[in-house]
């Protein structure tokens, strides 16, 4: 499928370019915006991978919520235009990342992946595209994990509140 391939490579270029921007750009605000681009590109990947639900959730949660939080954080801390400085670990970090990339690529390329049987590809595509199967799994097989995650979210919300609650009485 030409269309799919073009989309894929386009998204790849965008995603990787934006990700590089996030880690290299000095201006933190622009980095945050580039991060949103990465998120949206990943959402595009999800659509290509027939995970529509995840794509939308990706936009909703990452682009719509997490990115906003990060932008807020950027805004509330100082020296944004030159805020994204590298530290002394640049060289080792780059080396480690490059080595890891080499290993991961080698593994991805060398592994004999066991593909989905032809007979079931159609079925799998239908199941993966619809959100009903995911919903069923979340409330049946993974119900416990689901509950645990919801408790985690609640705890995180309360924890964040507790961390940031003002201390008006202590002001001089």
């Amino acid at each position: 499928m030409l269309l799919v391939d073009i989309t894929f490579w386009g998204l790849s270029v965008v995603a990787i370019g934006a990700a590089l921007g996030v880690v290299l750009v000095r201006d933190l605000f622009r980095a945050a915006l580039l991060l949103v681009v990465v998120f949206l590109a990943v959402a595009g990947f999800f659509v290509l991978l027939s995970a529509q639900f995840l794509a939308v959730v990706q936009v909703l949660i990452y682009a719509g919520a997490i990115a906003i939080l990060l932008v807020f954080a950027v805004m509330l801390t100082k020296d944004v235009p030159h805020g994204n400085l590298p530290n002394r670990l640049q060289v080792p970090a780059a080396m480690v990342a490059a080595l890891l990339l080499a290993v991961l690529v080698a593994v991805a390329a060398a592994t004999q992946w066991q593909p989905v049987p032809l007979a079931q590809q159609e079925q799998v595509a239908v199941v993966q595209t619809g959100s009903a199967g995911l919903a069923n799994l979340l409330v049946s097989d993974y119900a416990l994990a689901f509950e645990a995650v919801s408790v985690l979210l609640l705890g995180a919300a309360i924890g964040a509140l507790a961390l940031l609650r003002g201390r008006p009485e202590q002001a001089p």
Binding site: F53, V57, L60, A63, S131
Partner: protein, 407 residues
């Protein structure tokens, strides 16, 4: 005629698009024909929204004027109908300023990004039976996800302007958007539960009884929340001109200002379209097969009128009141609605796992009563609490206090 569309495809169902597809199919490869047909539909939608925006600006001004016992624009064209065109030309020819200290790229990107969600959301709205650009199975989520991107655009506009008022406006707007996202999403759960699907087309088809009757609380919460998210007047703290000049679009002028205005009014139109689909049974009506688009436009007009009506009626809320309204009032109502709907669906649907029309009427009765009680009760409760809020006394920073502790 080498290309065939599968039955059930959106393009196949729509005679106009099918015609475009068939014509293109004779001269181009199939994917290109598909692309062409899709683009044609998109053009239709985008232009429809933009033209609708123009009409809405005129309508709003006229109607507001009537509410204020004035006449409104009436010079240019019949009933002043060409007034938007005049405004457009004026704005296009004005100088488009960019502040020197602004972040130029982001500053220019923001209005475009602001218009985008308004246009993208229309893609899933069914204008007539089975006629939408994309009948996504997760349409409701898509609407929510795309519209949440507006926050980012507002932020970009406010930040890139390097203007304190713009930043204040953006911060207020973001706070409002984040707060109202929660009750809005929760209120839609009831609708999705009733329809058993997140596709807008299915939801419209499921409305044997319009959902604003079956889900009055959800309708109320959604309508209110959406007006807040659109920065429409009772909730327009983000651009309150009496307080912070013009909020996040203080520094915008010329064509960029025009695009922002278009985005705002376009957002109102798409939101109304979504409300029509979710709560007012969309294209449903007599002879829906042929006149669906007409019913849809009529209902759209009605919803838009209510928006304008609300704007004309209510005074602007204070920032803290807006927050309290969302968290203490709308969220409670949305939760009540969610629990009530879940229980009703659980008990009313029979072994067939579907809801009959009778079931829907029963639910409508229960929920209307519940809505009256809940809105009344929480209204009293919150009024008592809101009255107690006093504006904070101005705090003068003592000399020598460290600056920048404003977090």
């Amino acid at each position: 005629m080498s290309c065939q569309l599968a039955a059930g495809n959106i393009l196949y169902e729509n005679p106009l698009l099918r015609w475009v597809y068939d014509i293109a199919g004779t001269v181009a490869p199939c994917w290109a024909a598909y692309l062409a047909a899709g683009l044609a539909f998109m053009l239709l939608l985008v232009n429809g929204v933009l033209i609708g925006t123009a009409i809405l600006t005129w309508a709003e001004r006229r109607i507001l004027a009537r509410f204020a016992n004035r006449i409104g624009p009436n010079r240019w064209g019949p009933f002043g109908l060409l007034q938007p065109l005049a405004d457009l030309i004026k704005l296009l020819t004005k100088e488009s300023l960019t502040p020197r200290s602004a972040d130029r790229i982001v500053f220019n990107l923001a209005p475009i990004l602001m218009l985008m969600p308004a246009l993208l959301v229309v893609a899933v709205v069914p204008f007539a039976r089975n006629i939408a650009l994309a009948d996504l199975s997760i349409g409701v989520l898509y609407v929510l996800a795309i519209s949440s991107l507006t926050i980012l655009a507002i932020f970009m506009a406010g930040w890139a302007s390097q203007n304190r008022f713009a930043l204040f406006g953006a911060a207020r707007g973001v706070a409002v958007l984040i707060s109202y996202e929660v009750p809005v999403v929760l209120s839609l759960l009831g609708v999705v539960m009733l329809a058993g699907s997140m596709s807008l087309n299915d939801i419209v088809a499921a409305q044997a009884v319009p959902f604003f009757l079956v889900q009055p609380l959800a309708f109320f919460v959604f309508f209110t929340g959406v007006s807040a998210e659109l920065n429409r007047t009772p909730f327009d703290v983000a651009e309150g001109e009496s307080e912070i000049v013009a909020g996040y679009h203080t520094e915008y002028s010329g064509i960029k200002f025009a695009i922002m205005q278009a985005a705002e009014f376009g957002g109102t139109i798409t939101a109304s379209a979504v409300i029509v689909s979710l709560f007012l049974a969309g294209w449903a009506g007599p002879l829906a097969g042929y006149l669906g688009w007409l019913w849809f436009l009529l209902k759209l007009g009605a919803v838009l009128f209510v928006f304008i009506w609300v704007r004309a009626t209510f005074p602007r809320l204070r920032t803290d009141q807006i927050m309290a309204f969302s968290w203490k009032f709308l969220l409670s109502l949305a939760l009540i609605n969610l629990v009530a709907t879940a229980l009703e669906v659980y008990f009313l649907r029979g072994d067939s796992r579907t809801l009959t029309t009778v079931d829907l009427w029963v639910m409508a009765g229960i929920n209307l009563a519940l809505a009256a009680v809940a809105i009344g009760a929480f209204g009293r409760l919150n009024r008592a609490q809101v009255q107690r809020v006093r504006p904070p006394l101005p705090v003068l920073a003592p000399a020598g206090a460290p600056a920048g502790k404003a977090v």
